[in-house]
């Protein structure tokens, strides 16, 4: 039904299409319009950052793309098919490590792999070892979750999300709880992995510099109701250094725009 639309920037076919998605939540006090008629097309292999103040619905949008939350209206297409529920083609990495404490690091990475019946036992082990190595934790494969530092936990979570070979990686402020040094290191890692694997990544953040450092495009959202305000193309070549001066121009432009959405929200 849809002609596979292509992205103007990369010329790649669309991987994810968000079409007129709206979502409301009723809390005990108020009706929150988390998302209001949001549309967005994400190309195959693109790195898109969703940014906005809290309450702009960026995490809700990520949940809807993941299939964890159903939209009230509108729909999400992944590879031209309507998303009805979660699927292992679109894996999520959460802000707090959602690692399972009853499994060690290796067991956590194996969890998603064991749900792929097309792999043999030996293949699963090889893949898990490969991804633990990719995030630099092969020495910690038998470590319990609580023995890992915050950064190591998120690395294991990254390995766990990558191991079943999803086409789309959905990241919900994955580095927000980490210290700055660990974070800088993970920016390099995630860019390296993205360049090598060319997975489609949707990355939710409230940190402008982080968004500019990572994304091909930065999607700015505004709250109440949650809408897309502006989409910025970041033309700088990857890998980018978070501390580089090259990021300053785009960062200040987007930061100014972000302030604007905040003022509007306050005015309302």
């Amino acid at each position: 039904m849809e002609s596979p639309s292509t992205d103007s920037l990369t010329g790649n076919p669309a991987k994810l299409i968000v079409e007129g998605v709206s979502k409301r939540f009723t809390s005990s006090r108020a009706l929150v319009q988390a998302l209001d008629d949001v549309s967005l097309t994400i190309a195959d292999g693109e790195f898109v950052c969703l940014i906005g103040p809290s309450g702009c619905g960026k995490s809700t949008l990520l949940d809807i793309i993941a299939g964890l939350t159903k939209p009230d209206s509108g729909r999400v297409l992944a590879d031209g098919k309507v998303v009805e529920g979660p699927g292992r083609q679109r894996l999520v990495m959460f802000q707090e490590s959602a690692l399972f404490p009853w499994l060690d690091a290796f067991g956590n990475v194996m969890f998603g792999l064991k749900l792929r019946p097309d792999l043999t036992r030996a293949e699963r082990k090889d893949i898990a070892n490969h991804f633990l190595q990719l995030v630099g934790l092969e020495k910690f494969k038998r470590a319990h979750v609580h023995e890992l530092s915050g950064g190591m936990k998120q690395r294991v979570a990254l390995a766990r999300a990558l191991a079943p070979d999803p086409q789309v990686l959905l990241m919900d402020e994955p580095f927000a709880a980490l210290d700055a040094l660990t974070r800088d290191q993970l920016y390099d890692d995630i860019q390296r992995i993205w360049i090598e694997s060319r997975k489609t990544i949707v990355f939710v953040t409230h940190n402008v510099r982080e968004a500019v450092c990572l994304g091909n495009r930065v999607v700015l959202m505004s709250p109440s109701p949650g809408r897309i305000t502006t989409i910025f193309d970041i033309a700088l070549p990857h890998p980018r250094d978070i501390n580089s001066r090259d990021l300053a121009g785009d960062t200040s432009t987007i930061a100014a725009a972000l302030k604007g959405t905040l003022k509007e929200a306050a005015f309302e």
């Binding site: 292992r88 959460f94 959602a98 969890f111 079943p164």
Partner: protein, 257 residues
């Protein structure tokens, strides 16, 4: 080593104080026998086999009743944690009955089952099952929802989600629930054995009861000590390894580890 020594010293002190109290002559030796008397009774009962036989009878009842309580309680607890209707019905029923001391089941058990093993089991199961339901329900409710969300995105649904995510995630609560269930089962059985006199098996509770009838306080106190020791042993052998395992895995209670 040092901790064991301190504990041993403490118990030696207690027994010494007891012996001194007996020797002071303030209380009749019929009411308060010397620890040596009690030890002699335990030794004698061990040698003539009554103690081992009664312990075996009691433990058999306990294990059967406890196992039944857990087998009924675990799935019910998991179910009440997921369904609002079951929470409002079975959940409140469990909450109500858990407050009922298990001795209160004895009259009913006697009328319904007579002086039989069935009455014993009934009391033990009724004493166990409600606390297991409540603990399991509480545990499954306290699983961070993010585990289930993460599992869902990786394609874990239905039975796989229950056996590989919900059950292991609630393991710490399950173990404390089963431990609590054990304590309740043990109490219920003693109540049942003291009040239900039957001929099919002579348990520790019966020895306690007849000790009183015969005014043999060394038997009463001796059996009480045996009951305490069995309780401690079960805790150490059955539950401590599990708890240590969980603490290691979850990184909780680091001080004790």
């Amino acid at each position: 080593m040092k901790r064991t020594a301190v504990a041993l010293l403490f118990f030696a002190f207690l027994i010494g104080a007891w012996e001194l109290a007996v020797r002071s002559g303030r209380w009749s030796v019929v009411l308060l026998p010397s620890p040596i008397f009690v030890a002699e009774y335990i030794w004698g009962a061990l040698l003539d086999g009554t103690l081992l036989e009664s312990t075996w009878v009691t433990l058999k009842r306990l294990l059967i009743g406890y196992a039944a309580g857990v087998i009924i309680g675990l799935p019910l607890g998991l179910l009440t944690s997921t369904t609002q209707i079951l929470e409002d019905t079975i959940g409140s029923l469990a909450l109500g009955f858990q407050t009922l001391p298990s001795v209160c089941w004895v009259p009913l058990a006697l009328v319904w089952f007579g002086q039989t093993e069935g009455a014993m089991l009934f009391v033990v199961i009724m004493g166990t099952v409600w606390s297991v339901i409540l603990a399991t329900d509480h545990g499954a409710r306290n699983i961070p929802p993010i585990y289930a969300r993460a599992a869902r995105t990786m394609g874990s649904e239905g039975l796989h989600k229950w056996t590989r995510v919900i059950l292991p995630a609630s393991l710490p609560f399950l173990v404390s629930g089963m431990k609590q269930g054990w304590a309740f089962a043990w109490r219920s059985l003693m109540a049942a054995e003291i009040y239900v006199t039957i001929l099919t098996g002579f348990g520790l509770g019966h020895l306690l009861h007849y000790g009183r009838e015969l005014n043999a306080m060394e038997q009463v106190i001796g059996i009480m000590i045996v009951i305490v020791v069995i309780g401690l042993l079960v805790d150490r052998l059955l539950f401590s390894p599990w708890e240590r395992f969980l603490h290691r895995r979850w990184g909780t209670n680091v001080k004790a580890a």
